[in-house]
Amino acid sequence: MVKAKIILVVLGAALAVPQVLAGSTPEEDRKAMVEYFMQMFPDVPFEGFVNGQYALNEDRRRQWESMQDFPPYEFAVADGQEMFETPFANGKTYASCFENDGIGIRQNYPYFDTEKNEVITLELAINRCREANGEEPLKWKKGAIASISGYMASTSQGKPINIKVPDDPDALAAYQDGKEFYYSRRGQLNFSCASCHVQNPGKWIRGDFLSPTVGQPANFPVHRSDWGEMGTLHRRFAGCNTNVRAEPLPAQSEGYRNLEYFLTYMSNGLPVVGPATRP
């Protein structure tokens, strides 16, 4: 398929057809991607992809299962719940900022806000809620924000991810921007996100086992043994970029939010399983 793509691209260039015209819809992209991974890993059931590397590697899976009795994020989630329920100085709580009081809504994030014309991630909504209520915003990548978002994810476990790209040119542009980021090679080492997670999932890169694109954001925020604590998806983006010697974008920058939008859309239909653990 990939070879066919090169031929198409070369043909496209030769005929000078503006390639923008040939854009596939988000739903076409998602279906093609799910099919691509189902063919690559025929033994993994669709829902299994939320477990990333643990769905693909038996040894890793056993180690992981043995951790599940005392998951290392438990205390952080309890802290998150307490912060979530503690009123701000003005007497209101986080619940006042969210649909359904913030319970069981993780699967709808990120969404495109057609009035503000931007992607709203869960972490952005948490900090905007704080600011709207006269509180200082939290730091983006770890600590309190990961705990609160972890608690909110825990109330949404099992709910299918349901990201929408509304019929709106700006929403589509945000999705396309995230998609282009995902496939663009960056950094001195010349890797895109897709170099590892589309082209090489199931393989080892030194001591790390590569997971497929589909299912990745379902786990976040995530407790990584490498971090020794929980972190947000944007912390992970920054880590991956730095690994390939590309300057990371700031957490919650437009670029990373668009990336999260595309990436999470690719996991539509898979259950929320965050917070989770990863190496």
Binding site: A14, Q188, F191, R206
Partner: protein, 117 residues
């Protein structure tokens, strides 16, 4: 147009990169090459290739063995390490020379070492 560009690229590469005739490498050259190949901050070949006595090697690329019979032409091997994307657009192998991850001299030391495998 694209083909034209590629051939210009390749010509430039050949002109700028052509390695001089090589004398037999010393043991020091080979040791230095191995050090560069294994080091995570230099070649880090082990990230993707199994080779020699390297620990925790990745398996994205093929095992590096029998290098002399697979690459009898040193120049070709040099150019592939310099920029494999010129040979295979889809490769994930970093363009070590073009992106200045390794210098010309360092690539040559790595080749000295690879030829012992």
């Amino acid at each position: 147009m694209r083909q034209g560009l590629i051939s210009v690229y390749l010509t430039t590469l050949v002109l700028s990169v052509t390695a001089p005739v090589f004398a037999e490498p010393s043991q020091g050259d080979i040791d230095r090459g191995k050090e560069l190949a294994f080091s995570r901050t230099d070649g880090n070949c082990l990230a993707c290739h199994q080779m020699d006595d390297g620990k925790l090697a990745g398996n994205i690329g093929p095992e590096l063995a029998d290098m002399k019979s697979r690459y009898p032409d040193r120049e070709i091997l040099y150019r592939r390490i310099w920029d494999e994307t010129q040979f295979n657009e889809m490769t994930v192998m970093p363009p070590f020379g073009r992106h200045m991850i390794l210098s010309k001299q360092e690539i040559n030391r790595v080749i000295d070492y690879l030829y012992t495998l």
